[in-house]
């Protein structure tokens, strides 16, 4: 493991970003690292951009990484992958959930939502390691779109040297009992999709 591993979760309010980053931080702690996470609440959450940092390491100071030093950028929304890609270190890992949420600026006609190919081309200028995950589609198949973030965590877990059981233990502690089975399925589907 590197000295410090930096994760950055980005997306739109309501996508379960804080839960996903919470779980990732707890997995780090369970795997024996010092883990820190940071998030912002309040005004920006009303349909705005949500970001949450997670850092694993032996001796972590700040709870936020530096721009250009993120190892894993996890975008729950496609446009946000482009907005935050410069936070990724060159050739870092970029996971994108295939889901488009139009900002109000687009809906009212002040801006255009760029086509998927344009977004992908832009982020590939930063890293070749781009994985597009059908998180929303898989969650829909499972019958609950709120599983999207767990599918994405399953995909993320394939890139880390931590046993999937550790992830599942943390997830089970974190979600309401009646959603445990659904989350387990979502996690495994995400792992399959990414491997």
């Amino acid at each position: 493991m590197l000295k410090t591993t930096n994760f950055l979760f980005v997306g739109v309010g309501g996508q379960g970003i804080l839960t996903a980053s919470d779980i990732t931080a707890s997995v780090g702690l369970a795997a024996g690292y010092e883990a820190k996470k940071s998030e912002v609440h309040g005004f920006s959450q009303r349909g705005g951009v949500v970001e949450s940092h997670v850092r694993w390491g032996e001796n972590v100071g700040a709870s936020t990484a530096e721009k250009g030093t993120v190892h894993f950028l996890i975008a729950l929304e496609m446009l946000e992958s482009a907005r935050w890609v410069e936070w990724l270190r060159p050739e870092g890992v970029l996971l994108i959930n295939r889901q488009r949420i139009a900002p109000m600026t687009v809906t009212v006609g002040d801006a255009e939502y760029p086509p998927v190919e344009v977004i992908l081309e832009a982020v590939r200028a930063r890293t070749e390691d781009v994985t597009l995950i059908e998180g929303l589609a898989i969650a829909e198949e499972l019958g609950n779109t709120r599983m999207t973030n767990t599918v994405v965590l399953g995909a993320l877990s394939t890139r880390l040297d931590v046993a999937p059981e550790t992830w599942l233990e943390v997830i089970e502690r974190r979600v309401p009992p009646k959603y445990v089975e659904l989350n387990r399925n979502a996690f495994w589907k995400g792992r399959q999709a990414a491997s």
Binding site: K37, V49, E66, L79, T105, R173
Partner: protein
């Protein structure tokens, strides 16, 4: 949030706010009061889970502090919690509380917001400690947040002083490991001993205040001596070419950027340990101060005659980050790793659309701001979700400064002769916070402001806390609901319109009539539940009839995230038609009501 409970000692990830609550509980806090405000809000709900504590939402921060003062005088350890600007509201009591000192330990948490993520300013509340003459502790992670809070209660009693814990957004809202050990047995609630009367200490008439003031100065001197050995200030020796003095979250950035160099980590930032600082400075070649916002430490060091690198290279506005600290260090020529990041040529060949916050689908404020824009009125705004009214597509707010100020600003503008029709918009929680005296004032002074009270039955912006109007306590107990309509009538407002927020035309009509009242104050009381209130009723989703919609775009102007542009366009105009996301729609029908072609209809039975 994981549930607190009977847990043996182990490391858990806690937010700074959860850790503060735990520290207060471990210190035996008996009573806690707060007004919700980002980034402080989560402390009281976390504390309310522990047995043996009475924790309450107060109607504003001054009320919270006053209640806590009473608890302390009566002999119970007490905690007041607020955001940085909330301390301004409480400061009248805080300044004199410094004179009275405390009964049992009294701690005030001030959660500052460098970067103004969710605030109207980024004031640095360390200054309050110097101004009011009491100690200020600054944790830099969750473990310290817990430890310092517990420590603060002892310090408060030892020196007979209020103690401020200054947190920041990044401390409050970061999670880091904390050693948690919560005893299994619940704490018994026992009554306090009878009140010990000490009028010369607790009754601040001028004669007593004059006597107390010298004692406060002596207390500060004693605290300054104590600071030299206070365990919260610690030296970590490393390479002595650079010595870094730092506090709060800034320390976490500094210790990464200046890894291997010497540190004086300040845990008690007021009063500063001046001998310790001199001794540290004498050992290092270059002295650096890394602190967020104002040069609070730096200026005192300069007054001591010390040469420091500080705000000449580190920004005094906005939140610090690793990058900003590194950049400052490099500019100053200090031997740290890394390089200054040049803003890269943007790789994208397209611009990334902004994503400003928006009113939620189903928000009861939507019809209000849609109509205010339509009527082109001057709007004096207030603190709450409705501040989103200043953003597109409404762009309908002309002033906003602090809690409750909407009514006063509108009143003053009119009294000074402003010819425009002006409307003050204020939420229900904000109305109880400081709106009441502002409305009483405009009635008393025969102003002619139209006040719109937007009652969404919660303190929405901070995540949905209850308040006097809902009558539900922090523990979830239902009680009397203070009736805003009755209060407004009792104050003497005769021109009062009560309207349903979801009745777009009704809201418009009420505003038109209320604004036309030009010789006395009028009130439009708009009622509609926030979508996050548990009793909020979703209704069948609305649907756009593709054939009838001609892409006029009128419904886009209600600023609803559920209304999207369809791929289909109108044949004649070429403009995109509207479609509605059934997952987001709550069936509020505001778009349906404004559609000029009746192209939107409510589906039958299909609950949103």
């Amino acid at each position: 949030m994981e549930k607190a409970g009977s847990i043996t000692a182990r490391k858990r990830l806690l937010s700074g706010n959860e850790a503060i609550a735990l520290g207060a509980w471990e210190a035996g806090v008996r009573y806690a009061a707060a007004y919700p405000g980002t980034p402080s809000t989560e402390i009281l709900p976390a504390l309310s889970q522990y047995a043996g504590v009475r924790a309450e939402w107060s109607s504003n921060e001054k009320v919270a502090l006053d209640s806590v003062v009473g608890a302390s005088f009566a002999g119970g350890r007490a905690l007041a919690v607020m955001k940085h600007v909330g301390v301004n509201v409480a400061s009248d009591s805080l300044m004199s509380l410094s004179y009275t000192g405390v009964g049992a330990g009294l701690v005030l948490v001030s959660a500052d917001d460098p970067g103004a993520f969710s605030s109207q300013n980024e004031q640095d509340n360390r200054h309050y400690a110097r101004f009011g003459k009491f100690p200020c502790l600054e944790p830099s992670d969750s473990q310290e947040a817990k430890d310092y809070t517990a420590f603060a209660f002892n310090l408060s009693e030892q020196f007979d002083t209020p103690v401020v814990i200054r947190s920041t957004t990044r401390v409050s809202h970061s999670k880091s490991p904390v050693e948690v050990s919560v005893p299994d047995e619940p704490r018994e609630w026992e009554p306090l001993a009878p009140f010990e009367r000490k009028p010369k200490k607790y009754v601040m008439i001028p004669a007593h205040a004059r006597l107390r003031h010298p004692e406060i100065e002596e207390r500060m001197e004693a605290l300054a001596d104590y600071a030299e050995t206070c365990p919260l200030n610690r030296v970590v020796w490393g390479d002595k070419r650079v010595g870094v003095i730092s506090d709060g979250m800034a320390y976490q950035y500094a210790r990464e950027v200046f890894e291997g160099f010497s540190f004086l980590k300040i845990g008690m930032v007021h009063p500063l340990p001046k001998q310790l600082i001199r001794a540290f400075a004498a050992e290092v070649e270059t002295l650096v101060v890394v602190e967020e916002l104002d040069p609070f430490i730096e200026e005192q060091l300069r007054a001591m005659g010390l040469n420091v690198i500080g705000k000449d290279v580190f920004p005094r506005t906005g939140e610090l980050t690793l990058s900003r600290v590194r950049e400052g260090a490099i500019i100053a020529g200090l031997p740290v790793e890394g390089k200054v990041e040049r803003p890269e040529e943007s790789a994208e060949e397209f611009s990334i659309p902004g994503r400003p916050p928006a009113l939620c689908p189903g928000c009861p404020h939507r019809s209000v701001f849609f109509n205010l824009r339509k009527l082109k009125l001057l709007v004096s705004g207030d603190i709450g979700c409705y501040a989103i009214g200043v953003l597109p597509p409404f762009e309908e707010m002309d002033m906003l400064i602090s809690m409750g100020a909407s009514i006063g600003m509108a009143h003053g503008a009119k009294q000074a002769g402003c010819p425009d029709d002006i409307v003050a918009t204020i939420g229900d929680s904000t109305f109880f916070h400081t709106g009441l005296p502002e409305l009483a004032n405009t009635i008393y002074n025969q102003g002619n402001v139209c006040t719109m009270i937007l009652d969404n039955r919660t303190t929405a912006m901070t995540g949905g806390q209850d308040h006097p109007g809902t009558g539900v306590t922090l523990q979830g107990a239902s009680g009397h609901q203070v009736d805003i309509e009755a209060v407004v009538r009792a104050m003497g407002v005769q021109d009062l319109w009560v309207v349903d927020a979801m009745d777009v035309d009704g809201v418009e009509q009420a505003i038109r009539e209320a604004v036309s009242v030009d010789d006395r104050p009028s009130v439009v009381y708009v009622k509609g539940e926030c979508v996050f209130v548990p009793t909020f009723q979703r209704r069948p989703v609305v649907v756009v009839d593709r054939d009838t919609c001609n892409g006029c775009g009128f419904c886009f102007r209600v600023g609803c995230p559920a209304i999207l542009k369809a791929e289909a366009t109108d044949e004649r105009s070429g403009r995109p038609k509207a479609k509605i996301d059934p997952l987001l729609c709550t069936g509020c029908t505001v778009c349906l009501q404004v559609c000029p072609r009746d192209a939107i209809y409510q589906s039958e039975g299909q609950e949103a």
